[in-house]
């Protein structure tokens, strides 16, 4: 009996001990109540993503006015789905989560059902901050019962990032305005892509079908139904929401035109694709600029540029900061959340990482509006990304959005691997429905 489980459960044991360790560090130094305002405390901030949230300098700044607070950040380098799995467990167990946790747009809906396990930020004076956020962002961070679950960090306003060197070699225009003119619709975008692959057989036009699919879906749904896989009563509408089918069909068209490099997003191969410049464009929410810079590295500085995306604006991604009730320093944590999400901080993060602010004041901040990104050939990122953000229509995402999205993305990847589009669509329907059950 003792030999049997040991071999295969090694990973489980390791995971469990990591969980115990993190839980232990989360608790260290937090043992007494915060009656004394000058008491030394440690606040743990949980974030995700390869680039983190770009808060390092803001922590230092906060320390200057709050010398008793030590801030410890965890999660940089952790993928969203692993992060979310862990967070779900921690929130359910009521232990182990940070004092502040980041919730992503696609997963915050899932936590509406567990809002009782989070601090209502209205109790810490957040209600007066409504005007500091874009209306739809504020709405997403508030549960249907009116609890302020999280304050918005960034929004994922969309554009297309492209490599000028590859475009030039293929005889395409490299000027961002000219390109935006060329691809006013997604159909036109496909035509440009066909032109590219006809001239350049070594590189692909797109990194993968799924990134551009998500970009298109959020855009089409924003202009159309206002929701994707779930309607606003949380019913699965995979089969009846025409917006999904439209985005799916456009995507399979791109795959059939051999535009895609078939790289799974956030995989090791995808990362290598940036380094080896194996594709020319990528669907580019504002936060993607940080990902590109991090993955393609300094060698590709100045080789990328950003143009307006086809269609009319759209949003993909963006996060919130929330305080779980398991925190022993809820008041202090709420203060730090308010600091990290205020307009100045959001503008600072924009400069640091490129994440587009969700605060209208920050979006109108001249520093943001006039910002250019030297890595992306001095593209006026503030203008390109900021323009659409203010007029964006929100897209409602249902409770198991991530699971259903995974199923549909997998179906698209199976088309990349050679499956017929019709069969993949049927697959997406059945597996998506099972995932959302």
């Amino acid at each position: 009996m003792s030999v049997i489980p040991r071999r295969r459960r090694l990973a489980a044991v390791a995971a469990a001990s990591v969980a115990v360790l993190t839980a232990a560090t989360a608790c260290s130094g937090d043992d007494s109540s915060a009656a004394d305002p000058n008491e030394k405390i440690t606040l743990v901030v949980d974030v995700f993503g390869d680039q983190g949230f770009g808060y390092e300098k803001l922590y230092e700044e906060y320390r200057k006015t709050h010398p008793n607070v030590t801030i410890q950040e965890r999660g940089k380098g952790l993928g969203l789905s692993d992060y979310n799995t862990r967070l779900t467990q921690q929130i359910n167990a009521g232990a182990g989560a940070g004092d502040i946790v980041a919730l992503e747009e696609g997963t915050i809906v899932q936590f509406y059902a567990q809002a009782a396990k989070f601090v209502n930020l209205a109790d810490h004076g957040a209600s007066s901050l409504q005007g500091n956020f874009l209306p739809w962002k504020w709405e997403q961070g508030t549960t249907p019962n009116g609890q302020i679950l999280g304050l918005g960090t960034d929004v994922g306003s969309m554009a297309i990032c492209y490599r000028t060197d590859l475009f030039r070699a293929a005889g395409l225009p490299t000027d961002r305005d000219q390109l935006a003119q060329r691809w006013q619709t997604w159909e036109q975008f496909i035509e440009v892509g066909k032109e590219f692959v006809a001239k350049d057989s070594k590189h692909k036009f797109l990194d993968s079908a799924t990134n551009v699919y998500n970009t298109m879906l959020m855009q089409i749904a924003g202009a159309g139904s206002g929701y994707t896989y779930y309607d606003k009563s949380n019913k699965i509408v995979l089969d009846s929401n025409q917006d999904i089918k439209t985005a799916f069909d456009l995507t399979t068209k791109m795959i059939e035109a051999k535009l895609s490099n078939n790289l799974k997003s956030f995989s090791a191969e995808w990362n290598a694709g940036f380094k080896n410049a194996s594709f020319a464009t990528i669907g580019c929410p504002a936060w993607m600029t940080g990902v590109i810079k991090g993955q393609a590295g300094d060698g590709a500085a100045g080789k990328w540029d950003i143009a307006k995306a086809p269609g009319n604006g759209g949003n993909w991604g963006g996060s919130f900061l929330a305080v779980p009730k398991s925190s022993k320093h809820q008041k202090e944590a709420a203060e730090l959340v308010k600091f990290l999400t205020n307009a100045q901080s959001q503008a600072a993060v924009f400069k640091e990482l490129g994440n587009l602010p969700s605060s209208p004041q920050a979006l109108q901040d001249p520093a943001v509006l006039s910002a250019t990104n030297p890595y992306f050939s001095d593209a006026p990122t503030g203008k390109i990304f900021g323009e659409g953000a203010a007029t964006l229509k929100p897209v409602y995402l249902g409770p198991k959005n991530q699971a259903v999205r995974d199923a549909v993305e997998n179906a698209l990847r199976s088309v990349e691997q050679g499956k017929a589009a019709d069969a993949a669509w049927r697959d997406a329907q059945s597996k998506g429905a099972a995932a959302g059950k």
Binding site: R7, Q114, F266, A268, W270, A411, G418, K419, G436
Partner: protein, 329 residues
């Protein structure tokens, strides 16, 4: 247990025998001694059972209970749904049966060559050859490598664009294989990971068993003119019978719980779905997919209980087969 202290002795005699001690104290002492003898053995084994109750029995009972509910972090209330989860799982869940199929397929792909190779390796290492200790150590090396590292290295080796295997195939003039796209290719790749890691382990177990086989039998066989091959089949294999049964059962349990290798075979998020169409999603991966991505904890409980039954069933089948095969020889 039939010591005389244990049997009830009339208090009067005690008084007579133990002289000047006051009666109540003496009686207490006797009963303490009696308690000691009767219950301390249970105390000695208690730690194991306490741990087992916390980490073994409680989770099993809780799993059985949760499988009868619709528990999920997204449901405010938990309702009792009876056998609904099991009915759905058995009758209306193609993804579960796909996972069962994959798991059994990879089990056969990985285990059969694994045990045969281990047997041959052990037989080779059972002879006197130069550098014997080195070879015996060498085959044990993979066991101390972390599964995660093995899986990561192998997934690079089997990379689509820049992988070592595809580079080798290219030299041979064979086109690149997308190892994650098709069922057979992914099964093959994952089986090689499993085998690399476990062949040595099984070989060591066989080797230990082979060394305890009496040399006299081989001598007698040689005198009768039996060849080495004949000796292997007629002496070694039958003598290894209990060991073979042991390794078969261990491999069955391990094979049906295959998890880390196929999970880390895809990098990036969504590894639990085991390929675009679930080509290499195993039962344990599906279990976690249901639990962590779909948040259906009750249903996940049902999946794990069915997995438990499947393992018991296949262990039994393999035990019967293994017993038969080696007794035929």
């Amino acid at each position: 247990m039939s010591l005389d202290l244990d049997t009830a002795v009339p208090p009067g005699r005690h008084t007579h025998r133990a002289g000047h001690e006051p009666a109540p104290r003496r009686a207490r002492r006797t009963s303490l001694t009696r308690l000691d003898l009767r219950y301390s053995p249970y105390l000695y084994v208690l730690p194991f059972f306490v741990l087992f109750a916390i980490f073994g029995a409680y989770p099993i009972v809780y799993t059985a209970w949760i499988a009868l509910t619709d528990r999920s972090p997204m449901n405010a209330t938990i309702s009792f749904v009876g056998p609904d989860n099991f009915v759905e799982l058995i009758t209306n869940d193609p993804q579960f049966w796909n996972a069962v199929y994959n798991t059994l397929g990879m089990f056969v792909f990985a285990t059969v060559p694994q045990l045969l190779l281990a047997l041959l390796l052990a037989n080779a290492l059972n002879r006197r050859i130069p550098g014997l200790t080195f070879f015996r150590m060498a085959i044990a090396m993979p066991i101390i490598t972390s599964t995660a590292v093995v899986a990561l290295v192998f997934s690079v080796i089997y990379g689509r664009d820049f992988g070592l295997v595809n580079w080798g195939l290219d030299l041979l003039g064979v086109g690149p294989v997308d190892w994650r796209a098709s069922r057979l290719a992914s099964w093959f790749a994952i089986s090689t990971m499993v085998d690399w890691r476990w062949v040595g382990y099984n070989a060591l177990i066989y080797l230990a068993a082979m060394q305890s086989i009496s040399k006299d039998m081989y001598e007698a066989a040689s005198l009768d003119g039996a060849s080495r091959t004949r000796q292997f089949w007629s002496i070694t294999i039958p003598q290894l019978r209990p060991t073979i049964i042991f390794t078969v059962i261990i491999s069955t349990i391990g094979g049906l719980q295959l998890f880390t290798e196929p999970l880390l075979f895809t990098s990036g998020s969504g590894g639990l779905s085991g390929g675009t169409e679930g080509q290499f999603q195993t039962i344990t991966m599906y279990l976690l997919d249901v639990m962590n991505n779909r948040f259906r904890w009750g249903y996940a409980g049902a999946v794990s209980l069915v997995l438990f039954i499947l393992i018991a069933l296949f262990s039994l089948i393999n035990y019967l087969l293994a017993r038969r095969i080696s007794s035929d020889r």
